[in-house]
């Protein structure tokens, strides 16, 4: 029986795309003073990858480029979504980033701590009472 490797290639591309969308977007958004630059780069890269997928005559390459390209295009939106998470305190602000410093100054909800870095305890937790900022 011949194995069909396209599923494994698609799985690897998907996992890489999701991983970058989580880790890469978080790190780049936290470090970048502007949002438009990483957003524009993601749009250009995503479109280039999709054009590559269209023009590639090789099925595996076309599939991988198509998946990664589409997740990179979605990452372009994620930079703004991540900025809003920081504003609402759902992601930690980087005080060394002027854009985040402004969020910290203008929005009470913004904070430098990551509230998700804790273990589940099985009951609701009042983070304000715990003194977390």
């Amino acid at each position: 029986m011949t194995l069909n490797w396209i599923g494994l290639v698609a799985a690897a591309a998907t996992f890489f795309g999701i991983w970058f969308g989580h880790v890469g977007v978080r790190k780049i958004e936290a470090a970048s003073p502007s949002l438009w630059l990483p957003t524009a780069i993601a749009v250009a890269l995503g479109l280039a990858l999709e054009i590559g997928a269209l023009l590639s005559g090789r099925l595996y390459l076309s599939g991988a480029l198509g998946i990664v390209g589409m997740t990179v295009l979605f990452d372009a939106l994620e930079f703004t979504r991540q900025h809003n998470r920081v504003k609402h305190g759902h992601a930690p602000a980087n005080p060394n980033n002027p854009r985040h410093a402004r969020l910290l100054a203008e929005h009470k909800s913004a904070r430098t701590t990551d509230w998700l870095k804790r273990e589940p305890v099985g009951h609701p937790v009042d983070m304000a009472k715990e003194g977390a900022k």
Partner: protein, 111 residues
């Protein structure tokens, strides 16, 4: 010119989008301790995709498998999100998975 990659990319976005939904619902009703079983299901799907002759079916099963593996790594953070009030918290007892006490000792992976 082939539309395979573009089509697969669009399908992947939908499958990843579904991932957000089932992670939220799955954690709400079952709890995060099921993560090893969810991860196992995702790995099994990826392995099964090797034996599917259809290119489209194999690719979509692989994408679904990878999305499920990712979802398994999100369950613990989703539990925390519920506990700190960012998502509804389910106060009802959740079904314990087999070997729950052992699973509690393992660090739940996260991306």
């Amino acid at each position: 010119m082939t539309l395979f990659g573009l089509g697969l990319g669009i399908a992947t976005l939908f499958i990843i989008g579904l991932g957000f939904v089932w992670v939220i619902r799955g954690e709400y009703y079952l709890g995060y301790l099921w993560w090893p079983y969810v991860m196992g299901l995702g790995i099994l799907l990826i392995a099964a995709s090797l034996f599917v002759p259809s290119v489209w079916a194999s690719a979509l099963i692989g994408v679904a498998g990878a999305s499920i593996v990712w979802g398994s790594t999100e369950l613990k953070e989703q539990a925390v999100r519920g506990e700190i009030g960012w998502y509804p918290f389910n106060p009802n007892p959740k079904p314990q998975p087999p070997f729950a006490e052992q699973i509690k000792k393992w660090p739940a992976p996260h991306l």
